[in-house]
Structures are given as C-alpha cells and as structure tokens.
C-alpha cells in the first residue's frame, strides 16, 4: 500500500559513517516502486544509499537527501551460457551469492561482508581477496543502468558511453543512482577452501611470502601484529587459500545463512571504547591463538572465505561510539620498507594502539579516483582518540612522500590536499563530473570534503 502521489515519503534521520568519524542529520527516502525514478526532482542534493556501511560517509550529506535502494534488491535476469547475472543495485552480496552458488557460480571480487550491496561495490570499485589476480569490482561489471534526473535512464557499458561507465564505476555514487548491473560470474571450482597460514617473524619477510602466495593462491593476505613489543613488531601470518580438490571438495550448492546484521549505528552502540595500546596486545594474542588450526591447514567454506567479517564483526564494536580509523594505502613495493620503518619509529616514540594490520598484493594501473595500481596494500586500524588525528596526518605525510595512494572509501577524514597529491586523476575526475552534471546534484559528505 502506498501514497497515491507516486512519491516516496521522507524521514529525517541521523547518519553516521561506519568508522564513527562523520555524523550528520539528513533526509532519507526508501522508494519501493520504479515510478520513483520517473520523478525528475532536481532541487535537493542527493545520493544513493546501499547498506550504509561506507567508512567515508559516501551515502549521506548533511541536510541532503539519501535515497535507499533497499527495496530494489532483486535478481532480474540470468544468462546461464554466459554466466551473466542481472541484478538491481540494492541486492546484497550475500543474497546474490546464495543465488549464484545454486548455479555453481560466484563473484571473485567481493569485499568481506555479505550485507554490502552491489551498488556500493560498483560506486567504490572495491577489491576482493586477490586483487593482483582478479582486479577490482569494475572488472566483473558488464553493464549498468544509471538514473540521473537531468539525463533520465542511461545504459552504460564498455561499448556504450564507456567514459561515463568508467566514471560511474569508482565514482562514489556521484554520477547518479545506479539502478541495475549485469555482472560476470565465474564457476565455483569447489565449495570448500583449503586455508593455510605460514608464520613469519619480520614484516618484510611476511610481505615477500605474500607476493609469492598472491601469484599462486586463490586468496592471499597477511596479518601483522603491530601491537607487539620490540623485535616482534610486524610478525604475523600469511594466509593462502585455494579451492579444495580431491575428496570432500565436491559440493557446490551452498545455501548459507543470512549474513549477520551490520550497521554503522549498531557498530557504535557501546559508548565506551575497549581498545587501547594495552588491550590491542591482548586482542592480537587472542587472534594468534585462534590461528593454530590455520597453521596446520584447515578446510573452510567458500562463504567463510568470501565474507570473513561475518564471524568477526564484534571487533568493530570494541571501538565504542567514538569509532576508529582505517588507513589503507597502496604503496609501490620498493616504498613499503621505508613506510614501515617510519611507522616503527613513530611507535617507538609513542605507543600506538594499532589493532589490525593486514596486507594484500595489488596489480594494475592507476586511474581516476580508483584504489588501484601496482604494489602492496596495507590496512591499519586504530581507535579514534584525541591523538589519533595526528597519527593519521603523519601517515598522510608519509604516503604523499612515498608516492602511495590512500583508499578514499576507507577514511572519513582523508583531506582533499592528500587526495590531490596522491591521485593525479583527481582533477580529471572533477572535470568529467562537472561536464556530465554541471549543477552537481549528486553530493555526499565525501564529495564535499574532497571538493568533487
């Protein structure tokens, strides 16, 4: 049942970025019918909202309008021969995986939680578990349908308006509402994944193993203990995962449970933070203890391999309502050593509560505002505090100096000056966006901060 006007009611809500760094009141609409996209309202600044899990406040703008795609979450087409699936952009990765796995297929590039939507993945051009081999989300997007009130409904692909297609994939939702996408899936070799962890004692040693693993394994990443003292700093594990072969690897159909509920509001439900430099040590010790089975080698499901955050999302709550920072940077391999030495020196001067450090290998070319290129991607988490902004500014300075790129979608604080210094394509992105949408109707806290 609905209002006869054909419009969707608006509600005033308080929005918060997943990292807790940006809070704003804004309007929310949650249309549930296609006729909503017939309306050509060009008055309110607006932005699409998927799961609302962006760290960087990409789906809301103070006093702007967020348009939730939650009701547009259906599978609308499937070409079995080509392994191409057409979905509405509000579908979650978990729901899509349930559908595809029934057909013996999966998407190789997926971020770590099944509540994230396909629209969000396209807008942020996210990466998966082996970027060096699989690329980023755009590499599995065959075509998409975009709606902009001034331009109407547009069909985009590499053949049809390729410039706008590339501007939209990794365009942070600023070109319009992504309504549908056609995605290329791949056959699931097996529903079982063999996971093996290898220990290392020095950061650089771990990165060398990681590079080798990424070239040979299906999924590869490293974990580093950055809360450990002295010579153990940076020690950790390289995780290599491969689709299982042989006995017990046959079943492909994987129904799987619903992904656990995750929201920015729920993450910040606990008022007090429980993580500091002392408890971060304890947290890392617990994590080490939990990896005993992985060190011996263990078999996990594909679902667990694709969405590891499902079993660990309580971690984010430990930061409390104040939240946390994530600094994810892509550095040329030869610059990583200097970056790590700078962090170590900083830690020696003043202990930092780095609660998570994890690396992946990347390959590709830098373009526009995408988080792509050749090198090593390193993510660091730390609790938000009075002094944490100084640490982040220190990392900014190091990354600019070392010609790295910070991941825009992972940081609600990242200043425009740093993005401009690190992304040569930033001005080109701005120009292309203004050429397409001179009034800049689609805006978010992220776009305002970065002057996009």
């Amino acid at each position: 049942m609905q209002e006869m006007s054909g419009g969707a009611p608006r509600s005033r809500s308080d929005f918060v970025s997943f990292d807790g760094g940006t809070r704003s009141p804004a309007l929310l609409q949650q249309p549930d019918r296609y006729r909503y996209w017939d309306r050509h309202d060009v008055q309110s600044p607006r932005i699409s909202r998927g799961a609302g899990l962006s760290y960087a406040a990409a789906s809301f703008l103070g006093d702007g309008l967020s348009v939730a795609h939650a009701s547009f979450d259906r599978v609308t087409g499937f070409d079995e021969q080509q392994a191409v699936v057409e979905v509405e952009a509000g579908i979650t990765l978990g729901a899509l995986h349930r559908f595809l796995s029934q057909k013996g297929l999966y998407l190789p590039v997926q971020p770590g939680h099944g509540r994230i939507t396909v629209g969000g993945c396209i807008a942020a051009d996210v990466h998966g578990k082996n970027q060096a081999r699989d690329g980023t989300f755009i590499d599995q997007v065959k075509a998409l349908t975009l709606f902009h009130p001034r331009h109407g409904v547009l069909e985009l692909s590499r053949e049809q308006d390729p410039a706008l297609f590339r501007l939209t994939c990794g365009g942070y939702g600023l070109t319009g509402h992504i309504l549908k996408a056609r995605l290329c899936a791949k056959p699931i070799p097996s529903n079982s994944i063999d996971l093996k962890a290898s220990a290392f004692t020095r950061f650089e040693e771990g990165l060398a193993s990681l590079v080798h693993a990424a070239a040979h394994a299906d999924f590869a990443y490293s974990w580093h203990d950055m809360a450990a003292a002295g010579k153990h700093l940076g020690a950790g594990y390289v995780f290599e995962a491969r689709f299982a072969t042989g006995s017990g690897s046959d079943p492909v159909i994987e129904e799987g449970p619903e992904p656990p509920h995750l929201s920015a509001e729920g993450r910040s439900a606990w008022r007090l933070p429980l993580l500091n430099s002392f408890s971060a040590r304890g947290l890392n010790l617990v994590y080490r203890f939990q990896q005993r089975a992985a060190l011996r080698g263990k078999r996990i499901t594909l679902l667990d391999a694709l969405f590891p955050v499902h079993r660990a999302q309580g971690y984010f709550r430990l930061f409390g309502s104040r939240g946390f920072h994530e600094y994810q940077v892509l550095l040329p391999s030869d610059a990583m050593h200097e970056y790590l030495r700078a962090i170590e020196a900083r830690i020696r001067r003043r202990p930092l509560a780095i609660t998570l450090a994890s690396a992946k290998v990347f390959a590709g070319t830098r373009e526009s505002l995408r988080f792509t290129g050749d090198g090593i991607c390193l993510a660091l988490n730390l609790p938000r505090s009075e002094s944490s902004l100084d640490v982040m500014a220190f990392l900014d300075e190091r990354v600019v100096a070392l010609r790295g790129v910070p991941n825009i979608i992972k940081d609600s604080r990242l200043p425009r000056a740093v993005v401009d210094a690190c992304y040569p394509g930033a001005d080109g992105f701005r120009s292309a966006l203004r050429a397409f949408d001179p009034q800049r109707l689609f805006r978010s806290e992220l776009s305002e901060r970065l002057g996009l």
């Binding site: 049942m1 609905q2 608006r10 549930d32 019918r33």
Partner: protein, 244 residues
C-alpha cells in the same frame, strides 16, 4: 497452488508473492506498473522456479482492470486462492478532496476488490480448498479527521468480507479478513508511531500459516485487537480531543 495477488508489487503484496513462491505456488500478479511486476516476476521465477504471470492494470479503472485480470486468468489456469493486499491513501484525505480523488481511493480500496471477487467467485466455489483473503486497516476502527475516505472504504471492505463469509459459509471456500496495524511500508515510513511497525514479511508469513482456517476476521499483529477495543471504548468527550 495457483494464486492471484492483487496489489503485488510492494509492501505486504510483494512479501506475499515471495513467501508463496518460496512454497512453490504459481502466481498471477496484478499491480499498476509493469516495471515493478517484471522485476518481481523475474526474481521469483529465477529463485524459485515457479510460474509467474503478470497483469499491469490500474485499479482505479475498475471495469478495465477486471477485464484484463480475467483475460489473464483464463490463460493462467484455475485459481484457487485470491489475495487482495491492495490499497491507496493520501495525506490530504481530510474530507474535502475532489471527486476524482475520492473515486480513486474508493475504487482502489473497495470497488476493485468487490468486482474481482465477483468475477472469480463462481470458479472458486467449484474448487476444494479455495480461499479469498482481504486486508483492512486499523485506520477504520473508528472514524477520525484524517484518512476520512480511506477509512470509510476499508470499513466498507470489512463489511463486504463479512457478507462474503456468510455467503460462502456452506461452501468449501474460506474467507479471511485481516485488519492490519502498523506495517513497515511507504505508508508508515518516517512517521512517529505509537507502536512498532512489523515487517511485510512477517505479515505474509502469518497469513500463509493461517491458510485454510475459518476465523473470519483477525488483527495483525494480534495485539491490535486490544488497542482497537480501547479506541472504540473511549468516550466521545475524550476521543474528540485526540489528534491522530
């Protein structure tokens, strides 16, 4: 099961379509916009491998709507269950709307349900286990200064289903009428509600669980029966002061 759902594209109607498809029912879906129907039908076919046909028809044009649905039903095959989660309301329904606007509310909430039931009743009477399910609103429990025409239409619908149940009492047809409390749809979105809104999915699951039961009318969620009784029992001198 071969089921007709009128008002299928959103809210309780969409949830009913999904729950029934999960249980293997073939569906004939009716709504006003072909785009919504196409997306829903494709999704249900792909996920549940059921037969889904659609009719895009405007419930405000009652005769044309009945004709189109009847034509589609003729090729769809014998229908044994009919659900009417259809409705329409306006924020400016406060007693002084234009005639066309009132007609639209009366037609979409009442006339089209009566007309389609009349069209399908003869065939339903022939089928064992057939049922007709209508959906009213808590808004019609007691008339008030807002949703004036909508509440009247829903009150009329309640009376119609009472008659329908009496009419079919000696047959195999089950007639159920649900008076819905707050449901998380566009109608309740963003409103400050006195009680929590339940999901369309939970309403749909309850409706399907109750399939075949002979209870006449039921509130959903059930606690709305107590609230409705309390509202009806309020003395006029108190009730007239309420602004809701």
């Amino acid at each position: 099961m071969r089921t007709l759902i009128v008002g299928a594209s959103a809210g309780v109607g969409r949830a009913l379509s999904e729950v029934l498809a999960e249980r293997g029912a073939d569906l004939l879906l009716v709504a006003s916009d072909a785009r919504d129907l196409d997306a829903l039908a494709a999704h249900l076919r792909l996920l549940h491998r059921v037969e889904v046909s659609t009719v895009a028809a405007d419930a405000n044009h009652v005769a044309a709507c009945i004709e189109r649905v009847s034509e589609a039903a003729a090729s769809f095959g014998p229908i044994d269950s009919v659900y009417f989660p259809i409705g329409a309301s306006r924020n400016d329904d406060r007693g002084s709307m234009r005639v066309e606007e009132m007609d639209a509310i009366l037609n979409s909430n009442l006339a089209v349900v009566i007309g389609l039931t009349a069209a399908f009743l003869p065939s339903l009477l022939e089928l064992p286990g057939a049922q007709i399910v209508g959906f009213g609103s808590i808004a019609s429990v007691r008339g008030r200064g807002s949703n004036v025409v909508y509440a009247a239409a829903k009150r009329g619908l309640e009376s119609y289903f009472e008659s329908l149940r009496h009419l079919t009492a000696k047959t195999q047809v089950r007639v159920q009428f649900y008076q819905l409390g707050y449901v998380a749809t566009q109608q309740s979105f963003g409103q400050r509600l006195l009680f929590p809104a339940v999901s369309p999915r939970s309403v749909a699951e309850e409706v399907i669980r109750n399939r075949g039961k002979d209870f006449g009318k039921r509130f959903l969620p059930r606690y709305w029966a107590i609230i409705a009784l309390a509202v009806r029992c309020l003395p006029w001198n108190v009730y007239k002061r309420l602004d809701f």
